[in-house]
Amino acid sequence: MHEVVADVVVVGSGAGGGTVAQRLVPLAERGRKVIVVEQGPRFRDRDFDGNELRMARALYADAGGFLNEEGTLTLAFARAYGGSTVVYTGTSLPPPERVVRQWAVPGLAHDDLVRRARRYVGENNVHLLPDEEINENNRLFVGGCGAAGYSAHQFPVNVKGCRGSSLCNLGCPNGAKQGTHKVQLPSAEAAGVEVVTRAEAIRVEPGAVVVRVHPSEVGGPGTPPEWEPGSYRIRAPKIVVAGGAIGSSALLLRSGLGSGLPVLGRGLTVHPALILVGEHDHDVSNDVGHPKSFYVDRAADEGFLLETCTYFPFVTAKSLTGFGPAHERFMRAFPRLQMILVLACDRALHRNRVTVARDGRPAVHYAFTPELVRRLAAANRASARIFFGAGALRVHAPLADPQVLDAKDAQRVDELVAPSNFQPGRCSVSAAHLQGGCRMGLDAAESVTDSWGRVHGHPWLRVADASLFPDAIQINPYLTIMALADRVAEGVLADM
């Protein structure tokens, strides 16, 4: 095993790790060695060719089809230089005050998170797209909201030079999305921080991270690893883990930290999501333009969010419940499909958790509660009203019976959509907002870290990603992750 010496090792390079890397630049400038290890490859813009299956396989764990142990939910999380900021749509919202208040983490104030988030709003070019860049899919959502009595908000997004490929979730081919792969990591590297890609953290131990560097896949996208493939022990007095809710929890569990931290891996929340479509009598231009420009926030009142979205042929096909001629008819109407992503606000539960399988792979245990299913049903109803308000002829709603609602059913939405129609394993539920597992809190009995990401009982170790969330953030999480990571980095700097 190769031995490397550093002052700080950061595991992961997404919204959390990328932010920490940049905030540790003062250390690098003082000659200290800061190393970031990232499990995924470093991609070039030209690698993002929009081929759905090829890019899903290159970018996501299990090609985006990582299944929970119950087989009822697929989880999407990216592995790349820049982590999931490579594949999100750039939506950048501050944490809701009521959520941070409900978290009740001693020493964590909403004002502080907002102040830190503001830094990244500026650095990452967060802004509202002008009217002329809003596509028809989004316009229909706004119009439908107006007709159905919902307030649509515009998403601030962090793009620069967006050409409207609509391919955000497969990596932007034009380098327009200002994730950590475009802003924080290049800046950190220019200042001397070393980033090693294709480097999988196997375990952490006091004063070291054990890493396996993998070779490039023959013919696959992305650049080769910066280090020779093989095993490394990187010795460093400070370690920051930012591998995401699943990656960080699994890494700490693999490292044997679970015995002193009884809630490690527990309290996973994911914002379970359904994709709904409404068919119009005209083309909707859902495959050009920024895909996610507007949302409806009913989190506080009804426990759900609705967001505009555009997906690709296979993901769309998979997300529509059913099969055969009815399913095919929707797919053949693809250019006329308006799409809405439904996100339910789940609550952190002890039983929903990350564990580690015998082969070291993470395993996710997640069960749907009746309350969560009620929220999904309420979101189905709201979406159906918005689709019909926008003029849709037919709506596919997974929690309706029948699942295809015609315009004549518009007044019967409340009657036709019901929680009892939800069948786990039949409805395609997915999730990309993975949170919790290393929750912040007061002590080791009820949490994994303090409000500065310090792992209880392990002063050499910090966590800096969405795994810190004690409960669901109830909005798109990236700006909150960056704000928390900013705090964690400040703590590391203070320690050094």
Partner: protein, 172 residues
């Protein structure tokens, strides 16, 4: 339905004919695929399976076998030779099964069939999906060619944006 089975076909080799029959029920248009189309379909499915853990691969094969056995009991023939409407009704019942394990198993097989068909590059043009890295300009449009949004239904955004130094509120 043409095609041979055997170990050379990867994970699904031993049950390929049954799986193909299921795929034709899941996506009726796959009946229209020519030999090249099926070859592309099969490459996608086998490649996807090859990348999954061994346990999942084994369970998929077992489940396809189980489906075929259940079809023989229910329909009097295996899925590869069942009448299409009867096969569809049978699989609809499987999809709605009270037994979670059965629903989940079918969801996996259905997902593979949808991937094989809609994952083909040709499928995109067949269904009219035309996303392009060049976005608006690939359509001969500039973003500004679209009419201005009416604003109906919009609320004041509750956000922070670059250059905004004012007080921040959130969507509480």
């Amino acid at each position: 339905m043409a095609g041979s089975s055997g170990d050379t076909r990867g994970t699904l080799g031993p049950v390929w004919e049954t799986f193909r029959a299921i795929a034709c029920v899941v996506v009726p248009a796959s009946e229209e695929l020519d030999a090249d189309g099926w070859a592309g379909f099969e490459r996608i499915v086998q490649s996807a399976l090859a990348a999954r853990p061994e346990g999942i691969r084994r369970r998929i094969v077992l489940f396809v076998r189980a489906l075929d056995a259940m079809a023989r009991l229910r329909l009097g023939s295996g899925l590869a030779s069942a009448e299409p409407l009867a096969a569809r009704r049978f699989l609809e019942g499987i999809e709605r099964s009270r037994v979670s394990l059965v629903r989940r198993g079918f969801w996996g097989v259905r997902t593979l069939a949808l991937m094989g068909y809609y994952g083909r590059p040709e499928a995109a043009s067949e269904i009219g999906y035309a996303a392009h890295p060049d976005g608006w300009s690939a359509r001969g449009l500039s973003a500004g060619a679209w009419p201005t949004r009416s604003g109906q239904g919009t609320a004041e955004p509750n956000v922070m944006v670059a250059g905004d130094e004012g007080e921040t509120s959130t969507d509480a």
